[in-house]
């Protein structure tokens, strides 16, 4: 069981991801924007961050930089409605880049992959 931080400004999606990921058997903590996310990374020390990009207050890529400055080893999955941030260098710092879909199997696959590789490297 891992602790996963979900950073998502939209409450409905937050609930959806929380439900699905808890069903996978993980512990979930939530943040509704980048500023909160940084706070949660400090406090909760999650094993994995699922990060939305277009959020109020702070852009996800800026949040990503901050998160990694706190803990450079924490794996981050970018989970966004936009595909074009793939071209942004900063997004390369994330382990995975998943374009949002109602079908969460891709996201779930990525979570599995990332956690598995972390377990191996640990």
């Amino acid at each position: 069981m891992s602790k996963i931080l979900i950073v998502e400004d939209e409450a409905a999606q937050r609930l959806l991801y929380e439900t699905e990921i808890v069903d996978l058997g993980h512990e979930v903590v939530l943040a509704s924007d980048g500023v909160e996310a940084i706070d949660m990374v400090r406090k909760e020390k999650p094993d994995l961050v699922i990060l939305d990009l277009m959020m109020p207050n702070m852009h996800g890529l800026d949040s990503l930089r901050k998160v990694l400055s706190i803990n450079p080893n924490i794996p981050v999955i970018i989970h966004t409605a936009y595909s074009h941030y793939k071209d942004n260098f900063m997004s390369w710092a994330a382990e995975e880049y998943i374009v949002k879909s109602a079908d969460l199997s891709e996201l779930k696959g990525a979570i599995k992959r990332v956690l598995a590789s972390r377990t191996v490297s640990k």
Binding site: E10, A12, Q13, L16, T19, E20, M54, A81, Y82, S83, H84, K86, K100, S101, A102, D103, L104, S105, E106, G109, R113
Partner: protein
């Protein structure tokens, strides 16, 4: 003594009564010129006369102041030899001048001494007046004739020259005294005499009486022949008998010379024109040289015996012999030209028919021409001088005419030795921008003198050649440029098409990307929760079915969104090994529900082995998904026997994929448009499906074709370059095997 006088007086008185008032003057004078008697008429006409009047001379009926020694009328009374016709003029009583013609009849004494004279005078005033007029006219005529620049001559019936004016002297060079009495033949050229010209003119005059402006030639004293125009009139006497011919002869030599010059110029121009016409039909340089050489040597052209052409060779930096024409001896010359002249009268015909025969007739001159080679930097050489200074040189007996010293050497010999001739003309051939070559031409066979006209003609022909060669070169250059421009234009068109497409897409893209993203977020929630419900609800619940419908429709919407976003912002494909068969299986798995539901029989014929291309898995998945969906939707309008065939195979390094359906097909007129963005025939289509397929295929260096036959078969064929063998082998063990499920669009 005096009785004779008195007797005479009595007779005269009697006579006077008889003569009455006839205009006859009769008077008697004695030896001392004293009037002793005069008749009545005389008394009437000269009222101042009286008997006993002493006259200065027998003629001086009026007071006369003239010295008798100078007097033309004076003659002594006793002049027996010439009794008659002493004309005098007197002024009559009416003041008019009267002309009298006198007979002087001296009267002698027995001893022979003179007693006096009887004088009888006739009034000849009328005749005298006529005669005076005549004399004036004569003067006028002779003045006219003598001031005329035309020759005016009079010929008698034997055509002997009887009069000769100043004009005649000027035209023919003979003075009057040299030619008067000579026959007309002296003035006529022999050939015209032998042609019978004089007889012709005579018969013409006899029948017509005159000849007007007859143009012919006459001889000058020097023997030179001059062009003249003759007008002649037959002259008759009062009885109507011909007495001769008057001829007016005009010198038209200078006019004729102009006419001939004009004619020559016209002929030259027409020659030139003819040459020009032929020259500009060809773009082949060697052909142009051939034509010029023929024109220079042909009988209808400049009639030179031989012509040689040397051209600038940029590679060797020399002026190098190229081509020549001309017979090697007189016999051959005669044979060639008589053959040609028999059948061909125009330069163009000769040019068409006469090929320079390097093996035969023209072998010798071409052997000569190939030996001529002069370095371009040998500036004192006469050929290089002609070339560089664009000058024509005439060389006569080994000497160039005009100033300057020149070299004639060619290798270890010289031009004279090569040409076997020391009299020739050199003319340059040059374009506007550069010297092209030189022509040497001569008359070494018939030794005909090279005239100024020949040289002028040569210049003209050479300049024609120059412009033709220049044209040919320009044309070649132009052709090359046209090809370049055409190619550039084609590329431009292609690029423009792409640009327009790209611009349109960019504008649409920006808009739609915004909308798409805004929609995607709520869709995630809707679809996500629907799936959650679907998963959490009991298997037999109706709600599960409803949630299924929602998630299916959301997936559909998401697919559309992906299409829009891809068109708007086509991503660069990843370049990884992609297993085509595997992707197709995934696509078919996703589409299976739809296939089953629509009762479509699916025929799958996939290549036995795994087939790989290098590319982006997600994009290829999207492309194949679109094609399969397209096929499935096309089958909706078909009631039964719905069929789809999916084929993959490897052929010649290419991976081929065919997706076929037996739907209604695509109208031929629409085939060109189906890959255009937003073109759709479906009421519910976005018009993005096939354009995205096309975009993805292009991004993978692939090709897409469509063949359609209404209600039988519509086949989309894709082909991609197969992945390189070594890449497949290298990665086969790790990456590919590790790949988990693919992402769904």
């Amino acid at each position: 003594m005096h009785s004779l006088i008195y007797e005479l007086k009595d007779i005269l008185r009697w006579l006077d009564r008889f003569v009455g008032h006839f205009p006859i003057y009769i008077y008697l004078v004695d030896a001392e010129n004293t009037i002793s008697w005069f008749n009545r008429y005389m008394a009437e006409m000269l009222p101042n006369i009286y008997v006993g009047q002493q006259l200065r001379c027998p003629n001086a009926l009026l007071p006369c102041a003239e010295d008798c020694d100078d007097c033309k009328l004076y003659s002594p009374l006793d002049n027996r030899k010439d009794p008659r016709k002493k004309q005098i003029s007197i002024t009559g009583s009416n003041g008019e001048e009267i002309f009298l013609e006198f007979f002087n009849l001296p009267v002698f004494h027995k001893d022979g001494s003179i007693l006096g004279a009887l004088r009888i005078g006739m009034d000849v005033t009328e005749y005298e007046k006529l005669e005076r007029k005549l004399r004036e006219k004569e003067k006028l005529f002779s003045a006219i004739i003598n001031t005329s620049t035309d020759a005016v001559i009079f010929l008698d019936n034997e055509d002997r020259i009887k009069s000769w004016n100043k004009g005649a002297e000027d035209i023919f060079g003979y003075r009057e005294e040299e030619i008067i009495g000579e026959p007309l033949q002296r003035l006529v050229p022999d050939d015209l005499i032998s042609l019978g010209e004089l007889n012709y003119l005579r018969s013409e005059l006899a029948s017509q009486g005159l000849i007007k402006k007859y143009e012919t030639q006459r001889l000058h004293k020097s023997g030179r022949s001059i062009y003249v125009d003759i007008s002649a009139t037959r002259i008759y006497d009062e009885a109507g008998e011909p007495i001769g011919t008057s001829e007016s002869i005009k010198d038209i030599d200078s006019r004729k010379a102009l006419e001939f010059e004009l004619l020559r110029t016209i002929l030259e121009l027409s020659k030139l024109n003819e040459l020009n016409e032929i020259l500009h039909r060809t773009r082949d340089e060697r052909e142009i040289l051939r034509i010029i050489l023929i024109a220079i040597t042909a009988g209808e052209g400049l009639r030179f015996n031989r012509a040689f052409i040397m051209m600038v060779d940029e590679d060797t930096r020399t002026l190098k012999g190229h081509l020549a024409i001309g017979p090697s001896d007189q016999e051959e010359a005669n044979r060639i030209w008589s053959e040609l002249n028999q059948d061909y009268h125009y330069l163009k015909d000769i040019i068409q028919i006469y090929q320079i025969d390097l093996e035969g007739a023209d072998r010798k001159v071409n052997e000569i021409v190939t030996q001529i080679e002069v370095p371009l930097d040998q500036e004192d050489h006469i050929l290089i001088q002609s070339l560089n200074r664009k000058r024509v040189f005439q060389v006569k007996n080994g000497q160039p005419l005009g100033p300057g010293e020149f070299e004639f050497g060619v290798h270890d010999t010289d031009l004279f030795d090569l040409l076997k001739n020391d009299t020739f003309v050199i003319a340059p051939v040059y374009s506007k921008t550069e010297p092209l070559g030189v022509i040497i031409t001569d008359n070494c066979i018939n030794k005909r003198e090279i005239s100024t006209e020949d040289i002028e003609g040569l210049k003209l022909f050479a300049s024609q050649a120059s412009s033709a060669i220049e044209n040919a070169r320009l044309y070649r250059h132009l052709e090359h440029r046209i090809q370049e421009v055409q190619e550039a234009y084609r590329q431009l068109e292609e690029n423009q098409e792409k640009l327009v497409r790209a611009e349109r897409l960019a504008a649409i893209g920006e808009m739609s990307a915004k909308v798409a993203h805004e929609i995607r977020n709520p869709l995630v929630s809707i679809g996500g929760f629907a799936r959650l419900i679907e998963r959490k609800i009991a298997e037999d619940s109706e709600i599960k079915q409803y949630a299924g419908v929602i998630s299916e429709q959301v997936a559909n919407l998401e697919n559309i969104l992906n299409n829009i976003l891809n068109v708007a912002n086509p991503p660069q494909p990843e370049r990884r090994l992609v297993n085509i068969n595997q992707i197709l299986e995934q696509v078919l798995a996703v589409m299976e529900p739809a296939v089953v539901k629509r009762r479509i029989s699916l025929v799958k014929s996939l290549a036995a082995q795994d087939i790989f291309i290098v590319g982006d898995k997600k994009m290829l998945y999207q492309a194949l998904l679109n094609l399969v969906k397209n096929g499935i939707e096309a089958l909706d309008s078909r009631l039964d026997n719905r069929e789809m065939r999916i084929i993959t195979r490897v052929e010649g390094g290419q991976i081929e994929i065919q997706i076929a359906d037996n739907g209604p097909g695509i109208e031929t007129s629409l085939l060109g448009k189906i890959f255009q963005t937003f073109f759709t025939t479906k009421s519910s289509g976005t018009g993005l499906g096939l354009p995205i397929v096309n975009q993805i295929v292009e991004a993978h260096d692939g090709r897409i074709d469509v063949k359609t036959e209404a209600n039988r078969e519509t086949v989309f064929s894709l082909s991609f370059p197969a992945a390189p063998e070594e890449m497949v082998n290298q990665t086969a063990s790790d990456d590919v095997k590790k790949e988990t499920h693919p992402a769904h669009g």
